[in-house]
Structure formats: C-alpha cells, structure tokens
Symmetry: C2
Subunit: 193 residues, 2 copies
DNA sequence: GAAAAACGTTGATTTTTGTCAACGGTTTTT
DNA sequence: AAAAACCGTTGACAAAAATCAACGTTTTTC
C-alpha cells in the first residue's frame, strides 16, 4: 500500500523500520476513480497526495471556460495545490484522476506535526521541494527559450512515460498550445528525420 | 552588511544572537559592479547569492544568440543557478548585475555544513524553497492560462518594484515576448481605461 | 452491442506575434 | 563634451499560432 512512497522516501533519506512505522501513522490511503476530483477550485487543498498507482492532472479554467493543464502526476510523483495547502487558502487549481488511482495522502496537520517531531521528515520535504523547484525552473526555461519543435523534444525527454500515457491534447494544454498546433509540430518533427 | 539577510531569515525562523553569529561565519560578502557576472554558462555555480543591495538577472542564450531572461533578483531575494549549485554541474544560466550590488554568498560547502549542524538552517532553506516553488508555480500558471494583457497586469502586481526598476525589454524577455509586443500590450491597456 | 463521446489529424482562414527598420530621446562611455 | 550605446515606440510586413470545421478511428458509456 505504501511501498512506493517509502521507496522514494528512502531514496532521499534512509529510514529505519521504526521510523517508517511512525511516519505511516500520519498517512492516509485513498482510492480515486477516473474523473473523480481530488481538489476543486475554491476548496482548500487539505492534502498533498503521493501517487502509488495511476495518473492525475491539475488544471485551471480561464474566463472562457477552457482548461489549462498546469501539472501531471504519475506513480512516484507528489501533487497538490501547494499554495492552497500551505496557506490554507482556496485552491486555484482543479485536480482530478486521469486513471483509477491509489494515493497516499498527507493532511496539513500531519505535515506540520511530522515536520515538528521528525528531522528526517523535514529533510525529505526540503529535498522534495528542491527537486520540484529545479524541475519547474527547467520547464519554464525551456518554455521561454526553446523554439517549438526543440521544446517538444526536450519535454519528451524530460517526461518520456508521461507523453506515452496521456492524450496529446493534454500535453498541448500543458505546453500552452492548441491541440492542432501540437499535432502539426509532431508532424514537422517526424518529416524532418 | 548582513542586515537584510538576517532580517529575512528571522522572518522565516527566529535566531538568537549566538545563532546569528554562527551562521555569519559561513557567509561571504561580495560586491559586484554593474554588468559583472556572478556566474557564466558552463561554470559550476559555486554560490547562492542573497541580494543586500542592487539588482541581478539570470538569462540563457538560445541558438541564435538571443538572451532570454529566466529570473531577476532585487534586495531581499535569493538567486543562483540552483541545479548547477546542487548537482555541481555546469550552469546553463548566466547571471549578471543590472546595478552595482552588495551580495551575501553561501558556498556549497557552507550550505551543506549548515544543513548538517543547524536544524534552523534546514528549516530556513525548506521555507525558502517552498516559497520559491509556489511563486514559480504561480508564474507558470499565469503564463499558460492568462491572455497577454491580463498576464502583464498580473505580473505587474506580482512584482511591482521590479517592473519600475528594470528596462521594459527585459520584462518582455522574462515574459517570453518581443519588446515590441510588450510595448503594444501596454499601449492597449492604457487605451482601454 | 449500440450510441455517444473522445481523440488525432488535416485544410482553410483569421488573429496574434515576431521581425525589420526607423525615429527621437535618454543614458553611458570615453 | 562628444560619441556611442541603449531605450521605448511606431509602422509595414512576414511568420506563427489559434480557430473553425470536418473526417475517420478508437474508447467509453449505458
């Protein structure tokens, strides 16, 4: 149930069996069916979720009601509307399941308490935030500096599994493009080889 | 010399005078003249810098030699090529001073050691990363979901001081636009009021 | 198992943005 | 103090991307 969670945790910082048992007390498992919401815009995001199995996406709606995907999460990734979670403010993101999911949830209270009582948890979170921040910096750097075809190729290499698993119009949305434009970009790339 | 650094530190987590003195031993002051580099692409980014005074920018060069600004830093902000710093890999960013600067540097060795010996430093870094990550998420969400004029207004509110202090063609670059387009966006906004 | 919805692609057209050139007015350099 | 570089804007034009519509296929729903 928590296998992947602790595998990833231990990759960042090793835990003893006792420590794992302690952390486990603060976690809640949750199953989510395809198309179900984890968070809706306006709710406070009460949990951060770790994906044991399945796939999720986060998106925002614009004034014309169009969806813009801001993030994905596959097995081993962590997702939530972080600002809403940390500041206990209404979420601006919607998060729903693209496939049936098995998740590990950490509530805000559990998060705060673990940070207080367990230095290794703070180290884990520090490293998680650092990695997430570096990944997002890379994404934004590519966004503003690479021409479209190179950007698509770079993203493909950055997220190989994701691009196989998720419909292309969602990838387009994630990249800030229309589905048609992405289709044409892919066409140009395969023609030039 | 380190006034603003410790002011910001204490806003996140309070230090005693003794603790401040300890941290101070790990810091190095540095002055940078306008146009001087803190890091150049290809170097390993050996320090993260905190801005006591002045302004810096980070940028990448594309294949045609054009600059794309990825980040700015004003007084009280922290900047570096984080991936390069953490992984000791060659930097992909260039960082230079837009104005004469007074900086506080933390070397990788000092960073690692402080994290080891001082739990409050780890808390400080965790909060710094969390805040930086949330800010970057907001920026990228705006990037893909807001139409140009709203995006410009949102950025103006997000970084009011920055937009007054930095030339507009750099703001344009930061937003992934040409200088001419930004000029026209501003024009449309002032006409519609 | 049939109907409906979702998906990816293509073509025609419109809208948006970039590019190039020029300008007057700064600021910086020497 | 003069020369050079930089800055923001504008106009004319070219390039890129979005939009709209249609299509055959696949997947989901009931």
């Amino acid at each position: 149930m928590y296998d992947l969670f602790f595998q990833k945790f231990n990759e960042k910082i090793a835990l003893t069996a006792e420590e794992e048992a302690l952390v486990k007390q603060y976690l809640t498992p949750k199953k989510l069916r395809r198309k179900q919401y984890l968070v809706q815009e306006g709710d406070v995001c009460k949990n951060i979720c770790f994906v044991e199995k399945g796939a999720l996406r986060a998106y925002v709606l614009d004034e014309t009601g169009d969806e813009h995907i801001t993030a994905f999460a596959l097995e081993g990734w962590t997702l939530g509307d972080l600002s809403s979670f940390i500041k206990a403010e209404p979420a601006t993101w919607n998060i729903d399941a693209l496939e049936d999911c098995e998740l590990v949830l950490i509530s805000k209270q559990a998060y705060d308490e673990l940070l207080q009582i367990m230095p290794k948890y703070e180290t884990y979170i520090r490293l998680l935030m650092t990695d997430a921040y570096m990944a997002l910096q890379r994404r934004t750097t590519y966004m503003i500096s690479l021409p479209l075809e190179e950007r698509y190729l770079a993203f493909t290499q950055m997220y190989p599994t994701l691009f196989q698993r998720v419909p292309q119009h969602m990838i387009a949305s994630f990249m800030g493009l229309s589905a048609e434009t992405l289709s044409r970009v892919r066409n140009r790339i395969s023609n030039r080889k």
